[in-house]
């Protein structure tokens, strides 16, 4: 009896050590999923926060990307209180792509175009790189053509 329990004990330890050795291989996909899920949730919280206010304090809480801060301030001056909606998100590693809808009203000068008070709704393709809970880098492509057509600067053909 003692021998059998001893052997079972040894077998248990062997199996446990094999399982622990496998742990890093099994854990990687789970960690990757956890990161991308967290990043997607971050984007939703970020959009919700900036849709409420775009003060420096709020913006600074979500990013260290100075160029992005500049973009936000620029769009806010032209379309005060503009709203962003995440239509679709695709994430991998530390990047999140967001297919975004921008809605706003043209109330500020856009270059030499005086405010028209026209409403605009257009797509922006946005990719964020998120590190330590903040946006550190981004890439953006806005459907400027649609925006200009809605303001009335470019004719719709």
């Amino acid at each position: 009896m003692v021998h059998r329990k001893f052997l079972i004990g040894i077998l248990f330890c062997v199996v446990l050590s094999l399982v622990s050795a496998c742990q890093p291989i099994v854990a990687q996909p789970a960690q990757a999923i956890a990161t991308t899920a967290a990043n997607k949730e971050f984007v939703l919280r970020y959009f919700a926060a900036l849709n409420k206010d775009k003060s420096a304090a709020t913006v600074d809480a979500y990013m260290t990307d100075e160029v992005l801060k500049g973009h936000i301030n620029f769009f806010e001056a032209v379309f005060p209180g503009y709203q962003l909606k995440a239509e679709e998100m695709i994430a991998e590693g530390d990047q999140v792509f967001v297919r975004t809808t921008f809605t706003g009203t043209h109330k500020g000068n856009l270059g030499d175009i005086a405010p028209t008070n026209k409403p605009v709704t257009f797509s922006i393709a946005l990719t964020y790189r998120i590190e330590n809970g903040k946006i550190v880098d981004h890439w953006m492509l806005a459907d400027q053509l649609t925006m200009m057509q809605q303001i009335g600067v470019i004719p719709v053909d």
């Binding site: 679709e88 695709i90 797509s123 200009m148 600067v153």
Partner: protein, 130 residues
């Protein structure tokens, strides 16, 4: 569709089409009938910018969805959106989301897409005044 399978498919697709002639028979190997719009889009692009390139700049893969950020390069040698051939070279940033699925023969195909290109840059490069 695993992330690895999607990544491999998109790399094969880009290799097969970028900088090469894009006849329908070739395109049909990669694009399903459900995405007729993409087939038409490629045909229109090929007619206007023969053997145009899609230079991959960044790729994000998430299961059956792929986001490809690219530079679209070509020479304007055919009518494009009513603009007759100018002979000008274009180099325009863009981004495409592809959704992939296995067809009835278990072959991976693009079944849906969404695209944004820098149309302001395109118009400038083709010499069209805004």
């Amino acid at each position: 569709m695993t992330t690895a399978e999607s990544r491999a498919f998109i790399q094969r697709y880009a290799e097969a089409l970028s900088g090469k002639a894009k006849p329908a028979a070739l395109v049909n190997q990669y694009v399903a009938d459900s995405d007729e719009a993409l087939k038409q889009h490629i045909a229109d692009g090929e007619a206007a910018f023969p053997r145009y390139e899609m230079i991959g700049e960044d790729l994000i893969v998430d299961g059956d969805k792929v986001v490809l950020r690219f530079s679209w390069r070509g020479t304007h040698q055919g009518n494009f959106m009513g603009i007759p051939a100018t002979g000008r070279k274009i180099n325009v940033p863009g981004i495409i989301i592809y959704r992939l699925a296995a067809d009835e023969n278990h072959e991976t195909k693009i079944v849906e897409h969404w695209m944004q290109i820098d149309s302001m840059a395109l118009m400038q490069q083709l010499g069209v005044s805004a």
